[in-house]
Assembly symmetry: C2
């Protein structure tokens, strides 16, 4: 493992406060692997063998229902995914694939659970991580119940823009079909929605989305603290 990667890992909320001994034990058993774009990392229904930590790249969590894929969430570095399946020692509810070349740390689930049972600090932080994951899932659910697909798209764009320091434009790092599956609509409809947002302060340039008038877009999207604010 490269030195700066180790630094990144220990900076993760999940690992930051735990006992050195425990951290060593985790990393000792871990594998850091490189995956190209489009690799299926885990499959819905499989048993949780490894806790995954995305060190670099991009991963999507998705589910396939009746031959159609639906995006559950997008994972950015540095963060873990499928922590809940590991902790509860149950099969994955979803599948996951890389959407870019990715470096992923694989920690044997058994080891995670062992340290979880031994290191108080680690158990506490796992609980906090899960609480946050739970809250973000509930927020997504609220968005689905109360919003149209255009509104979900508009708020997604605003949320992405908030992440980047740039704030003015975002570049979607995957194709329209994938974006559609995460917004909860079809490719065709996503296209129409993007066209519609053209009247609300947004310009579409292929995979780049330029926000010309953030206030106008916000007036349309009406973001809400308890749906769209990731820190709440």
């Amino acid at each position: 493992m490269r030195p700066h990667e180790l630094t990144q890992l220990t900076a993760l909320p999940l690992f930051s406060e735990m006992e050195e001994e425990s951290l060593a034990s985790l990393l000792d058993a871990a594998l850091l692997q490189q995956f190209p774009t489009g690799v299926i990392l885990i499959r819905e229904g499989d048993h949780a063998d490894f806790l995954h930590v995305l060190v670099e790249g991009l991963v999507e969590i998705f589910t396939e229902q009746n031959g159609v894929e639906w995006g559950i969430s997008l994972v950015n570095p540095v963060s873990t995914f499928i922590l809940a399946a590991v902790v509860s020692d149950q099969p994955y509810l979803n599948s996951a694939r890389t959407l870019a070349n990715s470096r992923i740390l694989l920690i044997p689930a058994q080891r995670v659970r062992a340290i979880f049972d031994r290191d108080v600090a680690f158990a506490r932080i796992v609980a906090r991580e899960l609480a946050l994951a739970y809250r973000s899932s509930v927020k997504k659910l609220k968005g689905y119940m109360a919003r149209s697909s255009v509104e979900r798209l508009a708020n997604w764009i605003l949320a992405e823009a908030r992440k980047d320091a740039a704030q003015g434009n975002i570049v979607v790092p995957f194709d329209r079909g994938t974006l559609a599956s995460h917004i909860g609509t079809t490719r065709e409809n996503l296209s129409r929605s993007l066209a519609l947002l053209t009247d609300h302060g947004v310009r579409i340039r292929g995979r780049e989305i330029v926000i010309d008038a953030k206030d106008q877009l916000e007036a349309f999207a009406r973001p809400q603290r308890f749906i769209d604010d990731p820190t709440s």
Copy 2:
């Protein structure tokens, strides 16, 4: 607190394995209160002051968006709710109200967090609870993305029937509007959906839903392990 209630509480997964001292400290600061039907227990945006444990009765978690209420989940005894807000020390994402006369144990959030920081067993169990809550939220999300409202209703009926030992019929303990908000549709549409299920092995008798042909209903609903099985 009545003796059998104390027994019920200590039988809760959340409390079962923790140190006696910690449990005593929790219950010592707790208030057991009785609420009639229709009382708002917590409001979206309020700070999490108490961990709630539903000892007896029925509670719904819901959110209000643009003047319309949407049901997030139904809480049956004996279980906790809003654990995530307490653990992460953040405002509630949703509101909650009683749907029946209810007895609720209120434990000061600060106390919960203090013991969470001290008692390993408790921290571990909180993490497991949160993992399960997270997973059930993801399952609900999957249902919303991949299913029509009639299918959600059909699967909800099957899930409720599975809970009751009776298995043959269920009695919805609240009005149609509330049910509609939890299925993710309107009152009017729910009515039509119920009428439609009449052709698929179900009989409607006011608030009672009689399952005449479970196999027929299952053929229509096509329940899936990783959406509808609460133990997965």
